[in-house]
């Protein structure tokens, strides 16, 4: 069990490719950290540096209190899990889990204890004498996880471990890995490009882009308070709607006026920021999540909630809710409404903005205005 400290970590590959620019993060013991971001943003590189499979160009990496920049992978007390969930075909489940420890010459009694303990955690005690052939897909994956668990590492490292699985098993394993983390009480660093995975699994998530950290936060905070336009769009599905607006004075208070004339109030805190930072008269990006629109025909908020009207282009029925796609201010937006909503393609719909849930971003820096 250990904390991790990444201080000014940088990776430049031969050919002068900077894959990770300046990664700073303190990871506490027992955290489940998810590195997430688009392909090529540097997730795998970061994980490989933690594992010791890739040299660190610059910066310091600590596992526990130990500086490990020059420590080989086998001495870092880490365990890795990859996509294949490889097992030894002729060994029983028990032997599969014991094998790595036997190679490391761990005494038999201890092996036995660790294997049984891991089997208990994974709820595969009844499978210990089975051969891999006799296991289902999900069971195989659990045994492969068991092989990592018995090492009792300080840190688990996983790089897109669910990417080869079919959709159903993927969802199942997501829960499985989260449960495992809770039971093991060990630090996990997990890489994925899938924001849903990140949101559902991480205690904190690190959102990366082009080798830079964009935000480190709890999933909820990243969702509710995205640090910039990139995070705002990346986290959440369907995506946050982004419109353009201008900050104007409305009865002495700053408000945001959309291109169709809709006037949106902002919170007192934002009012102050807009004023003190000279935003009045300037353009800003206005972000609103699909669930923060309300169809006035089904539910009405107070009169301080302004409205915009458009024509539904597509209504996507998702079961418990419906996504309405329409154009407002020349931009396509999506509103997430209750499934009782009977609006369909071609219908006109008037949406109220939950103005207290509206996000504003600087047009030049794309950083959130809070």
């Amino acid at each position: 069990m250990a904390n991790l400290s990444l201080r000014g970590i940088k990776k430049v590959y031969p050919g002068n490719v900077t894959a990770v620019r300046d990664f700073n993060m303190e990871i506490a013991d027992k955290e489940f950290i998810v590195l997430v971001g688009p392909s090529g943003c540097g997730k795998t590189t970061t994980l490989r540096m933690i594992a010791g499979l890739e040299d660190i160009t610059d910066g310091e990496l600590f596992i526990g209190d130990k500086l490990v920049n020059d420590v080989p992978p086998k001495d870092r007390d880490i365990a890795m899990v990859f996509q294949n969930y490889a097992l030894y075909p002729h060994m029983s489940v028990y032997e599969n889990m014991a094998f790595g420890l036997k190679l490391k010459k761990v005494p038999k009694a201890e092996i036995d204890e660790r294997v049984k303990n891991a089997a208990k955690i994974l709820e595969i005690e009844h499978l210990l004498s089975r051969k891999p052939k006799a296991l289902s897909g999900g069971q195989r994956q659990r045994v492969a996880l068991g092989r990592a668990i018995v090492r009792e590492p300080k840190v688990f490292l996983m790089d897109e471990p669910l990417s080869n699985l079919d959709a159903k098993l993927r969802v199942q394993m997501r829960t499985e890995i989260s449960k495992l983390h809770q039971r093991l009480q060990t630090t996990f660093v997990y890489v994925t490009h899938d924001q849903t995975e990140a949101m559902t699994m991480g205690t904190r998530i690190v959102i990366m882009k082009d080798g830079d950290i964009q935000q480190i936060d709890s999933p909820q905070n990243a969702y509710e308070n995205p640090a910039n336009l990139f995070v705002a769009g990346f986290i959440g599905s369907p995506q946050m709607n982004i419109l353009k607006g201008t900050v104007v004075e409305n009865g002495g208070k700053p408000a945001v006026k959309l291109t169709d004339g809709t006037m949106i109030n902002v919170t007192a805190k934002k009012e102050a920021t807009l004023k003190s930072n000279g935003y009045v008269g300037k353009e800003v990006y206005v972000g609103i999540r699909p669930e923060n629109f309300v169809d006035v025909d089904t539910e009405s908020l107070g009169s301080e909630f302004s409205t915009a009207t458009g024509k539904v282009e597509v209504a996507e029925l998702m079961g418990s809710e419906t996504y309405l796609y329409l154009t407002i201010c020349d931009k396509q937006v999506v509103a997430r409404v209750d499934s009782h909503n009977k609006k369909r393609a071609g219908d006109s719909v008037t949406l109220q903005f939950k103005w207290d849930k509206v996000h504003l971003f600087d047009v030049a820096t794309e950083n959130a205005i809070v």
């Binding site: 392909s39 090529g40 890795m80 490889a86 030894y88 075909p89 190679l103 010459k105």
Partner: protein, 336 residues
């Protein structure tokens, strides 16, 4: 030293004692057990013909290499039963040595047809067998563990350390999947990041030189073209083989045609990732845009830009395949 394992398993099942067979560079113990057998070669040399740390240690007299047979026992014994047992190990190991020597001769290219015939007699017909060559796993301090992992991942017919690589003849129904498992096992158990070349199916030992050559070529192409992934299947590498076999003249004319000065100027890491992901996603715009997290229109814009600068439209098959060929040939020079 591989078919030894079967003999070992059978002997142990009769004797009910642990046995280890140790040579200079390899060891097989069975069962791979608790009070782990951890005597090293030098220790055994010093204590041969005695009982040492719970094992009686014997050496074989008539093999080319030195082998120690270690049998778990309270005291040293020299019964007829033991002598018989040693004899059967000896004949087995002699045969293994013989095979290894011939295989080394053959893959070094220094052989005669009669050598192949001798090996054919020894191996007979091979079924579902493949030749693999493993690079970056022959690490000195864990070579025994590496062998142990290989032996347990496939049904191995031969494991041979040769020229800093490990050559394996393995029988397996899904060799590529098992090769991937092997690479993953070496990485997760021993933190060794290796490359596994699968040279092709070996129906008859006579094909060995050819298939060994395929393995070497696969590893060479991986280095040359910076091919991602730990497993290389030579039979699926036609694209790289074609790229490699083009004349220098043709290669440079393709590169000049595709990589125009304007394109080179526009090629940054964003563009590189876009191109790589587009290929990885089988030219599927939606998947590529999702993985890159860009709007479909942004992706289209980038593809348009490539078209504008190179005259090649990646959405058109005719254009795309030549672009891909140029990308394979020239990517490294272009980027590094």
């Amino acid at each position: 030293m591989t078919s030894i394992k079967d003999l070992l398993i059978k002997t142990v099942s009769i004797l009910k004692r642990n046995i280890a067979v140790v040579s200079k560079n390899d060891r097989i113990t069975y069962p791979l057990e608790e009070e782990h057998f951890n005597l090293d070669f030098e220790e055994l040399k010093e204590n041969v013909n005695t009982n040492y740390k719970g094992y009686s240690i014997y050496s074989l007299d008539n093999t080319d290499n030195v082998y120690y047979i270690c049998i778990q026992a309270k005291e040293y014994e020299d019964s007829d039963l033991i002598k018989l047992l040693l004899l059967s190990f000896e004949s087995m190991l002699k045969k293994a040595d013989f095979n290894e020597d011939y295989i080394k001769k053959i893959i070094s290219g220094n052989y005669e047809q009669s050598d192949i015939l001798k090996l054919q007699q020894s191996y007979g017909n091979l079924i579902n067998s493949y030749l693999l060559l493993i690079e970056n796993a022959a690490s000195k301090d864990s070579i025994n563990e590496v062998h142990e992992i290989i032996r347990n991942t496939f049904n191995t017919i031969l494991i041979l350390d040769y020229a800093d690589r490990i050559l394996v003849i393995a029988e397996d129904e899904n060799i590529i999947r098992s090769a991937e498992d092997l690479a993953e096992n070496l990485l997760t158990e021993l933190y060794l990041e290796c490359a596994v070349a699968v040279g092709g199916k070996l129906d008859n030992i006579a094909q060995l030189p050819q298939i060994y050559d395929n393995c070497l070529n696969a590893l060479y192409l991986k280095r040359k073209y910076d091919i991602a992934g730990r497993v290389l299947h030579y039979d699926n590498m036609y694209n790289y083989r074609i790229a490699f076999s083009l004349s220098e003249e043709l290669k440079s004319s393709i590169i000049q045609k595709v990589f125009t000065p304007k394109f080179k100027e526009a090629l940054n890491s964003e563009m590189e990732t876009t191109i790589e992901e587009f290929f990885k996603c089988n030219l599927n715009l939606t998947d590529t845009a999702n993985r890159l997290y860009v709007h479909r229109n942004t992706l289209l814009y980038r593809i348009e830009k490539i078209y504008k600068y190179t005259g090649f439209d990646l959405r058109k098959f005719e254009d795309c395949w030549l672009f891909k060929l140029a990308w394979v040939i020239g990517k490294q020079d272009l980027l590094r």
